[in-house]
């Protein structure tokens, strides 16, 4: 009997070439989503093969199938609950034993399975010969050789997978766990009949998991009344085994798996020279060298930073110019009115605000693909871990934090390289505290207005330093408050150095850019239109002067200055009375203790779209114009305003540094954590923190006799 639709799940260790194989099999026909409830990404691809429509699911790369990591939980639940027609386990042939460890666990789930012996060419070059026929016989499943980077074996793999999916006869795979463990399994299995029916996991596997003290399975079984006795019996059996064999049953079971694999390895693999120094080892001797490792790392980071932000600035500049040209072109060619304003300022401005980050996202993922593809990313974590671990983070947190000084959007996307969700989340939450380049124009204007040239450097440096110190403190706080319990392991593979294919790099860049545009872009666009509305409406306001008449009068004058001044004054008054202006006045009591007035309130509100917007908003309010060239006149206007003094200016800079990440960042956090909760939490906690720190600075400064 033939069916036309088949689903194939790809499983395998990280670094086994799974992604390359997935891309080879599906091409561009992919869909990226999330597994429900977790931050683990779910990738699906589609492929027509002969008369089958195949859905290929790329399971997260894992070393094992425990309940300790969400990736592993997702992988095993998918295999069992979604019942893919066939599971293809991809094995890095040059790293046979550890890769097969996962295979034995997948086999115990008793689903139709095919083994893809990937990178067989690399293994053979290293003098490792594998007898795949014998391997297939021992495991009872078909084995196919593939070379992902050269697209070899793809047809055969699909052919075998399709055939295996339709075979009804399967030999079951059993590892003998020794007399004592087997006895315990024998006792538990009869108690698990109901659990097997409800949870769909094989009975023997459930019994094993109970002996391994698997939290997820224990909890699921406790919910089933008929299997009530099983967990208590398992606890007893565990204690008994512990006493008899002197070790944790969990360890014993893993030990038996590895013993089985050790025997299998000796049987099917022949190695010429076990200690041959590989090409990869030689490179590593230099790159993680005691003396050279750190300087090389810092040099590479400097390159990455400049690639993303210095080189990225050129296309960004073109995009900004293009968008503003388009805006003014639309402005000239449309009739006056709300629609024109919406299109020219709201929509085009909003779209501009989305695509302006695109060059950075593309360049960042070029750099990340290169670092990950070559295998250097793991070494970067290896080199930096000591420092990052001290502050409650992971070695891999360094790159996102560094990028944070350029822009939080690519920085947070860069946190994707952290496999562990807790490490990733803490990193994402503190990254915006790294002062990004969009905050610099705010500092520049305020420092120029209130601090002399001699003090400018120190003031600026202190702001950046406060951001870093707060990031360290908050990382520790989040670690101990939000993510209590044991620390995350750093037990990490250092994969061999490889030359990544250009195709895989381009694919990664393309995929991430599309995702950014689809997922974060739509949110950024929507909210920027809302903020545009709030700063432009209502249009009918009560002005203090009859601007229309005055402007008409001024138009008769030979100089433009009078007219321009009036136009600016009118815009300032209009903004003051807009919804945003009302928000500013409304929140004034809340920000008064920080020394801020409503004008700063409006600016801070509008700057939620992007922090540099504070400068242009203040420019409009102070009627000096909102352009770059007006910064100098804004500086004078601010210096002349009695609401400001150096202390207020400093508190304002601190507030801008810390308070809610900009809209684009929030949208990116939403996309990367797959959760509005974390996006809003990031916005909320930082605003509260900003208030507290600015309060301490302002009130403390006043007590100390600073300011006025």
């Amino acid at each position: 009997m033939k069916k036309n639709k088949l689903s194939i799940a790809l499983a395998g260790n990280p670094n086994c070439g799974k992604t390359t194989l997935f891309n080879n099999l599906t091409g561009a026909r992919q869909h990226v989503g999330n597994y429900p409830g977790v931050t683990v990404e779910k990738k699906e691809g589609y492929r027509n093969f002969k008369n089958y429509a195949l859905t290929i699911i790329d399971l997260p790369g894992t070393y094992s199938l425990t309940a300790y990591s969400p990736e592993e939980l997702v992988a095993r639940n998918f295999v069992v609950r979604e019942t893919p027609d066939v599971v293809v386990d991809i094995i890095d042939a040059s790293n046979f034993e550890r890769n097969l460890y996962l295979a034995t666990q997948l086999l115990e789930l008793e689903r139709p399975m095919v083994l893809a012996l990937n990178m067989a060419d690399v293994a053979e070059a290293r003098g490792i010969k594998i007898d795949d026929q014998l391997l297939a016989r021992r495991l009872g499943i078909p084995v196919v050789r593939t070379v992902g980077s050269r697209k070899q074996g793809m047809e055969e793999l699909l052919e075998t997978a399709v055939r295996t999916a339709q075979e009804t006869q399967r030999t079951s795979f059993v590892i003998n766990y020794g007399r004592d463990v087997e006895e315990a399994i024998g006792k538990l299995a009869p108690l698990l009949a109901a659990a097997q029916r409800q949870l769909n996991f094989p009975r023997r596997w459930l019994a094993l998991k109970l002996l391994e003290n698997d939290r997820d399975i224990i909890e699921s079984i406790q919910k089933i009344p008929e299997s009530e006795g099983a967990t208590a019996a398992a606890a007893e059996a565990r204690a008994e085994l512990q006493q008899k064999l002197g070790d944790d049953p969990e360890l014993l079971i893993a030990d038996f798996r590895y013993r089985f694999l050790g025997a299998l390895y000796r049987e099917v693999v022949t190695v010429q020279d076990e200690d041959a120094l590989t090409f990869s080892d030689k490179i590593d001797k230099v790159l993680t060298n005691r003396a050279l490792g750190l300087p090389i790392f810092l040099g590479l980071m400097w390159l990455v930073f400049n690639l993303v932000f210095t080189l990225g600035a050129y296309p960004q500049d073109w995009i900004e110019k293009g968008v503003s040209l388009l805006g003014s072109w639309v402005g000239q060619h449309m009739a006056e009115g709300d629609l024109k304003s919406l299109l020219a300022d709201g929509v085009i401005g909003g779209v501009g605000g989305v695509i302006v980050f695109l060059p950075q996202v593309i360049l960042l993922f070029f750099a990340i693909s290169l670092l990950e593809g070559t295998g250097y990313m793991a070494r970067a974590a290896f080199i930096m871990d000591r420092v990052m671990y001290k502050v409650g983070l992971h070695g891999k947190s360094f790159i996102p934090l560094l990028l944070g000084f350029g822009c939080s959007v690519p920085a947070i996307m860069g946190a994707r390289t952290l496999e562990n969700p807790r490490d990733r989340l803490v990193t994402i939450l503190v990254t915006p505290l790294m002062s990004c380049s969009a905050r610099l124009p705010v500092y520049t204007v305020l420092i120029a207005a209130f601090f002399g040239e001699q003090r400018a450097g120190n003031v600026l440096f202190s702001i950046y330093l406060i951001g870093i110190i707060l990031a360290i403190i908050m990382a520790r706080v989040f670690r101990s408050v939000l993510f209590t319990g044991s620390t995350e392991p750093f037990v990490m593979e250092l994969p061999p150095y490889r030359i990544p294919t250009l195709k895989s790099i381009l694919f990664h860049m393309w995929e991430r850019s599309i995702l950014y545009l689809q997922k974060a872009g739509t949110i950024i666009l929507a909210v920027s239109i809302i903020i545009w509305f709030l700063t432009n409406y209502p249009t009918e306001v009560q002005y203090s002067k009859d601007y229309a008449a005055l402007i008409a009068q001024a138009e008769t004058l030979p100089q433009d200055e009078v007219k321009e001044k009036l136009v600016r004054e009118q815009a300032g008054e209009k903004l003051g009375q807009s919804y945003a202006g009302q928000v500013g006045r409304f929140i004034e009591p809340a920000i008064a203790p920080l020394g801020f007035d409503w004008k700063m309130g409006v600016g801070l509100f509008a700057a939620f779209t992007a922090k540099e917007v504070l400068v242009s908003t203040l420019g409009t309010i102070y009627s000096v114009g909102a352009g770059e060239e007006d910064a100098a006149s804004l500086k004078d206007a601010l210096a002349a305003d009695p609401a400001y003094n150096p202390l207020v200016a400093y508190a304002l800079m601190i507030f801008v540094l810390i308070y809610s990440p900009c809209l684009a960042t929030i949208a990116t956090i939403k996309r990367e954590t797959n959760s509005w909760k974390w996006a809003l939490f990031s916005s909320g906690y930082s605003t509260v923190l900003a208030w507290i720190i600015a309060f301490i600075v302002y009130q403390g400064g006043k007590l100390g006799g600073l300011g006025g």
Binding site: N95, D385, R386, P489
Partner: protein
């Protein structure tokens, strides 16, 4: 002579005797193939002294010294 893996010098070879501790870290260690009887070699320590890198079952693994403290090994001659 038994000692903690973290006390070994680069270049030294050893056989795993026992793994103490429990929880996710412990589990990760055994999943990566660090089980009693496994042979390993210490490759190096990171430039800042921690973590360390070992070679086991033909691949390179890094782990923090605190994690390596839970692994008892016997130094091979």
């Amino acid at each position: 002579m038994h000692k903690e893996l973290s006390k070994l010098q680069p270049g030294e070879r050893a056989v795993v005797i026992k793994i103490t501790g429990n929880g996710p870290i412990h589990r990760r260690i055994i999943d990566m193939g660090i089980v009693p009887g496994a042979k390993l070699k210490v490759e190096k320590f990171a430039p800042l002294g921690d973590p360390m890198e070992i070679k086991i079952k033909g691949f390179n693994l890094s782990l923090r010294k605190t994690e390596a403290d839970t692994i008892q090994v016997e130094v091979a001659g």
